[in-house]
Subunit: 424 residues, 2 copies
């Protein structure tokens, strides 16, 4: 089955934004057992959109477009594609009702232009968009005059905003694909997530041990982000259901405690789950991470059961007054030191009354480094009923990657402590 | 001039990585005055690469490929393209010398397979790669048999690693383009960023007023994210340098205080800049945003000059003990209320001793709503020497978008207060 993506948007061609739809949609389709053959980006002009859709329809069983379904003058996908396929547009009463309700729920007036989003090409399926006003649209092009042999194709248009596109894809597109296309060849896949170990070391630890399985058809893929390596083990064909579990067992044995999750579970979700199961609570004392740990923890639904409070103590005064760090410790060791990290964690735990308290202090840069403590230096401490543990890390990265990696190291220190692994 | 990009890599099609080359190359070419017409991603098989290159060459004056120049078995771009163009590959002595030197400088043995990277299609220019072993390759396809009319094209192959591709592009490709292509038509562009107003309302406010300019060639583009609409005004040709500033003046007059930045400046950067200029300080009291405001503020270099401390007070106890919210206020109004938001802001300001304190309390969901205060309800308060202002918002979004939008509204409340706009 041939799948092509057409992502539209002048902002893509100007280099203003990253094409996150490509990665997300490709990953979802891969997980479901399909592979995307081609992805094309064009500006949102009628001619470019129609041209890219025409070419994709000449080759593919399924064409997915993103963007250009909104109410503004550069939203031309619906119109261009309806014209290309010779389908008249008709106002859909249920979509119009949904748009009215959307604005009513927000107590906002409904601009006249939003009614455009209720236009549906004749014969198209409407894919509801609970998070926005423009629905997705699915059209069976049958027969497809653009394809040799006249085989049929499906064309699915999705709205551009990721927070609308993603749930719509999961809730409506995947079930539709399962219904209208034959199931993909036996495909089995698992992703294991490791932390505290780099990509080349992961590869060194597992590839030799997996050699017999890769000879039999196992595929190994890696994807690394600051403080995280995803290992994707996959196989196709009748052997897939055996190969992948065997490979998972070997990989888990080799990487052991470095593996913190499978699938797409984030480290913050693991930590919230572990604490919730144990009815334990957490406090945070963040200096260099500046609220990044709290932000990640509170992205997890149910975080309010475990996170009592977080203190972002950027200034020395705040470290003294809010956390009870001692002035003599600050004077003797400086704000970026193991001693201060320990007092931050212990102070937060005592004052907030939590089972665990995590603290981080370091130099995110670009300024503030010294020969003894260059930019990237970090001290992380964790206080609990079993005492306080601390570690020093060196994360010489840009500011945002520094915060991401440091928060990952801090959350992993907590995960290992909760699980009794005793240190990283 | 028609430019197309072909980015190759199976990891792109599997959704393992983001296509950062697309954004980076498009941004560089836009800055130099050109526009990319199309970008295609394919897997790194010989057939897919040759197919994508053939189609791009049938349309474009310039085709740039990325990836597939390395020494491993899935590096097939050089070979596929040489075959497509009927150019034999010859070993280039200077490239081979560079590769030898590269390994020698690192005291590493030179694997035999790396010699492949010294193969150059007949007639190609070698673009040196000081950071790696595979050079870039530029071929003038003259005449181009794939194009109607037989016009000529250029095809440039770049290595995949960003740290190699980027300097090579800047040092060798841009000068080559300036030499072999006519200078691009006058191009002018500005992006204005608005907040506190939706995409359709922005359009209603400006498009009629800009009608004469769009008739003269002005292009308007929109890109919206939670709490933010980017308006891109651009034009080409001799008139561009007049049209865009006129359009900017009109747009600024219409949207007025809703515009918070131009270019790609983020709202948190604007706020940090305004506070820094005024030597003023900030404290945060976050409940429903869970550290998102602190995280955004501390992403800005120099944030430590303005942010004294942030308190993430998820639990009621933390609101009482850390912020001094009164138990009777909590009992009478509930944690999600204007009264509590005001006491959070005032408590944070008094206890931390900052010029401004921002507070947010609300229901992020998915659970916790009630008929009187459904999921999405938020109260934001800002305390300063001029008293306390508060506002109620309704943000019924998924959890992460809720936090992003609420933090945007809070930062905008602060921006307007600093600038003396008095309320949103």
């Amino acid at each position: 089955m041939v799948i092509e993506l057409v992502t539209t948007g002048t902002e893509l061609m100007l280099g203003n934004v990253l094409n996150t739809h490509q990665q997300w949609l490709c990953a979802q389709l891969t997980r479901a057992g399909w592979t995307v053959a081609r992805q094309v980006s064009v500006a949102d002009t009628a001619a470019e959109i129609a041209g890219a859709a025409r070419e994709a329809l000449s080759r593919a069983d399924l064409v997915i477009t993103t963007g250009g379904l909104g109410p503004t003058s550069d939203d031309l996908t619906r119109d261009s594609i309806a014209r290309l396929l010779g389908k008249p547009l008709r106002q859909d009463a249920r979509v119009l009702e949904h748009i009215r309700g959307f604005f009513a729920a927000r107590s906002r007036p409904m601009p006249e232009s939003t009614k455009l989003q209720a236009l549906v090409p004749e014969g198209a399926k409407v894919l509801p968009n609970p998070r926005g006003t423009a629905p997705g649209l699915a059209i069976e092009v049958k027969p497809n005059p653009l394809r040799r042999g006249g085989a049929s194709s499906w064309l699915i248009m999705l709205p551009g905003p990721p927070r609308e596109l993603r749930p719509l894809f999961t809730d409506s597109v995947l079930p539709l694909l399962a219904e209208v296309f034959p199931p993909p060849a036996h495909h089995s896949s698992v992703t294991l997530r490791a932390t505290g170990v780099g990509e080349s070391l992961v590869q060194e630890k597992i590839e030799r041990a997996l050699r017999a399985l890769t000879a039999a058809g196992l595929e190994i893929g890696y994807c690394s982000r600051p403080g995280q390596v995803d290992i994707r083990l996959s196989a196709r064909g009748p052997n897939a259901a055996n190969l992948v579990p065997q490979a998972e067992t070997i990989t888990r044995a080799r990487l052991d405690k470095d593996i913190y999750a499978s699938g797409d579970e984030e480290l913050e979700s693991v930590v919230v789950r572990l604490l919730t199961e144990r009815k334990q609570t957490l406090a945070l004392a963040e200096s260099c991470t500046g609220g990044c740990i709290a932000h990640r923890i509170t992205n997890v639904p149910g975080a309010s059961l475990v996170l009592l409070a977080g203190l972002v103590t950027y200034s020395n005064d705040a470290k003294l007054s809010l956390l009870g760090v001692r002035p003599e410790t600050l004077a003797a060791h400086g704000a970026v030191s193991e001693a201060v990290a320990r007092e931050m964690a212990e102070g937060a735990r005592a004052r907030i009354g939590a089972d665990y308290a995590l603290a981080a202090t370091g130099i995110a840069g670009p300024a503030g480094g010294s020969p003894a403590k260059p930019v990237g230096t970090v001290f992380i401490a964790l206080a609990s009923g079993r005492g306080t543990v601390a570690l020093r890390q060196m994360n010489p990265l840009d500011r945002e990657s520094f915060k991401q990696l440091t928060s990952q190291q801090a959350l992993d220190l907590l995960r290992r402590e909760i699980l009794g692994y005793h240190g990283p």
